[in-house]
Amino acid sequence: MSSEYLVEVKDLKQYFPVSTGFMKKTWLKAVDGVSFAIKPGETLGLVGESGCGKTTVGRTLLRLYEPTGGEVLFNGEPVTDRNITQLRKGMQMVFQDPYSSLDPRMTVEDIIGEPLDVHKLYKTRAERRDKILHLMELVGLNAEHATRYAHEFSGGQRQRIGIARALAVDPKFIVCDEPVSALDVSIQAQVVNMFEDLQDKLGVAYLFIAHDLLIVRHISDRIAVMYLGKIVEIADADELNDHPQHPYTISLLSAVPIPDPKITRQRKRIVLEGDVPSPMNMPSGCAFRSRCRYATEKCAQECPKLEDRGNGHFVACWNK
């Protein structure tokens, strides 16, 4: 079965058990029915506030967590516990925190070489070294630094090491979990550009997670907006930018700075009121209801589904 899509996520769910007092348990619905698909070589941006479940989507997608429900197809093949080790050669991850994602007791060479060691992707030591040096060159690291330890590098360089490690198995798909949000603004652009260069060279597809719309808009072909474990809007990057429809997306976009003081002054910033509700105690119906200016009776009763509004633009909102 071949499919147009490289990765298909269908109704993915991830509930974490949380104990609330003695012998009592509730479920924290970190991801609650998320569906999307990514074509080969494409970038899907995933934005949302901190704690809305972006990281959990990425990790559940890669089976780092056992999903509570739903299905992931890779190359049209369902991902199961049985074939996951093999499939890991096709999908990789770049982590959010460049400090804790590299083992402090390992040299750069060993960190980048770990996937090669795990999957035994070389025959001789020389071949291993060649591959590692090639990867280091690919991400712009100096080959002389191969024998150094991760703590000797800056945040940007560490993130490059993490990217080289992800690329080692020659994957077709990489989950980039806020790969630049821990970095200096001046370095963010460099690293984002490197992601784009790598995509051009290697044809990998990305799920690019960020809480910053500005970066996502720059790199993504399509963008999905998440709120409290659900996708509320998904569309082409330009379409979403020019015609946002979900009230949450509109407020996010209004907060993006525009480098023109005239426009900025005229523009109205929509500041969301209230806090994000706790994912353990979500409002009934539409999760965004507690902060939405357009909320009606219906929003309280029923949860809106993602529906097609043309142009590949999907929105989950009762308000049209």
Partner: protein
């Protein structure tokens, strides 16, 4: 205007930065930013820091001296720890309680006759045995107990702690409650009680075997360590493993397709190794101290085998006339315990700065 600017510049309390002092970085300087400092491995870096710590260096030297003396000393000195001084094949009763460097009457005669004898550097005890040999041998016993008790504690604690930490969940919960219970027992009291009970039950069991040579007390001492003292180590290792498990590099290894065995071998063990070493080093003095204390109250090693604690105990009676016999083993205990503690602290500061608080 000009004047104003000058005054502005001279204002001693101004916090304005004088821009003329700054220049643009040249290309060369920019390139220098890229060059990294000399690479050091984790071990080299730690050793360098350790060698810069004067207390740690002092303790290493001290320990080397004591260990060397305890190992080589009894071989060089021509007296045995249980041997009563004899002259020309006959027991020398006059060699009782000699002062340092004193000769007994019989020995003096032999020396006057032109023969050479090895001096009693620390004198002799009330049973005519060379005291220096006894102190050195006692040090050896104390060190032996210290190392092996620490090793025992390490093995039990490591196994227990790593199982508890890695399994997590309910297993962890139950295992840690057991630890809590053992932890809450008053350990000095337990040590004494166990020693007394084991002494009476073990003695018939081991009679005639190799173990009997070690003495019942020594064996019960190790059992006490094995039963009680591993809990601290187990807790420490469990905590370490729990915190290492949380690191994203473990998740990253999982994402590359690594199995549990690989992750434990390549990530978890190397990352808690330094803590294991350090706490084992700190366990040694505590074991030495406990052994000395038990020997001092008569529950330690079997006579005639000396240990630092039993030597001090034996010296109590003649404390007024021969204070050096009490002071010397006491000083050796102090030096040993102090040096191991200082070394452990030094190791911790050098290899695991996070653990300091």
């Amino acid at each position: 205007m000009n004047n104003e600017q000058n005054e502005f510049k001279k204002n001693p309390l101004g916090v304005q930065i004088d821009l003329s002092k700054f220049e643009l970085a040249t290309e060369e300087e920019k390139a220098q930013q890229e060059v990294m400092s000399e690479s050091t491995t984790f071990f080299k870096d730690g050793m360098k820091k350790l060698m810069k710590n004067p207390l740690a260096v002092f303790s290493i030297i001290m320990l080397c001296i004591i260990i060397l003396a305890a190992v080589v000393g009894p071989a060089v000195i021509p007296y045995e720890y249980s041997e009563m001084i004899s002259v020309n094949g006959r027991r020398d009763k006059t060699a009782k309680n000699l002062a340092p460097f004193e000769w007994s009457k019989n020995e003096q005669k032999v020396i006057d006759g032109g023969e050479k004898l090895f001096p009693h550097i620390l004198g002799t005890d009330e049973q005519c045995r060379d005291y220096l040999v006894r102190v050195l041998y006692g040090t050896r016993v104390s060190l032996f107990v210290g190392f092996f008790a620490a090793l025992l504690v390490l093995i039990i604690g490591l196994l227990y702690g790593s199982i508890s930490g890695y399994m997590g969940g309910r297993v962890d919960l139950i295992m840690m409650r057991i630890v809590d219970i053992i932890y809450s027992l008053p350990d000095t009291l337990m040590v004494i009680l166990l020693s007394v009970v084991l002494k009476s039950t073990l003695a018939p069991a081991i009679e005639g075997t190799q173990l009997a040579k070690l003495g019942v007390n020594m064996i019960s001492l190790f059992i006490v360590f094995g039963l009680l003292y591993w809990v601290g180590m187990a807790r420490l290792i469990r905590g370490q493993i729990l915190s290492i498990k949380e690191n994203e590099y473990v998740l990253a290894a999982q994402a590359t397709g690594a199995k549990s065995g690989w992750i434990i071998r390549k990530h978890i063990i190397p990352n808690c190794l330094s803590v294991i070493f350090i706490s084992t080093a700190l366990q040694i003095p505590s074991a030495i101290f406990t052994e000395s204390f038990l020997s001092f109250i008569g529950l330690g090693v079997q006579a005639p085998m000396p240990s630092l604690g039993s030597l001090a105990n034996a010296a109590r009676e003649g404390m007024q006339s021969y204070p050096h016999k009490l002071v010397i083993p006491a000083i050796v205990i102090c030096l040993l315990v102090l040096s191991f503690n200082l070394l452990g602290d030094g190791l911790r500061d050098a290899f695991d700065p996070k653990l300091r608080r």
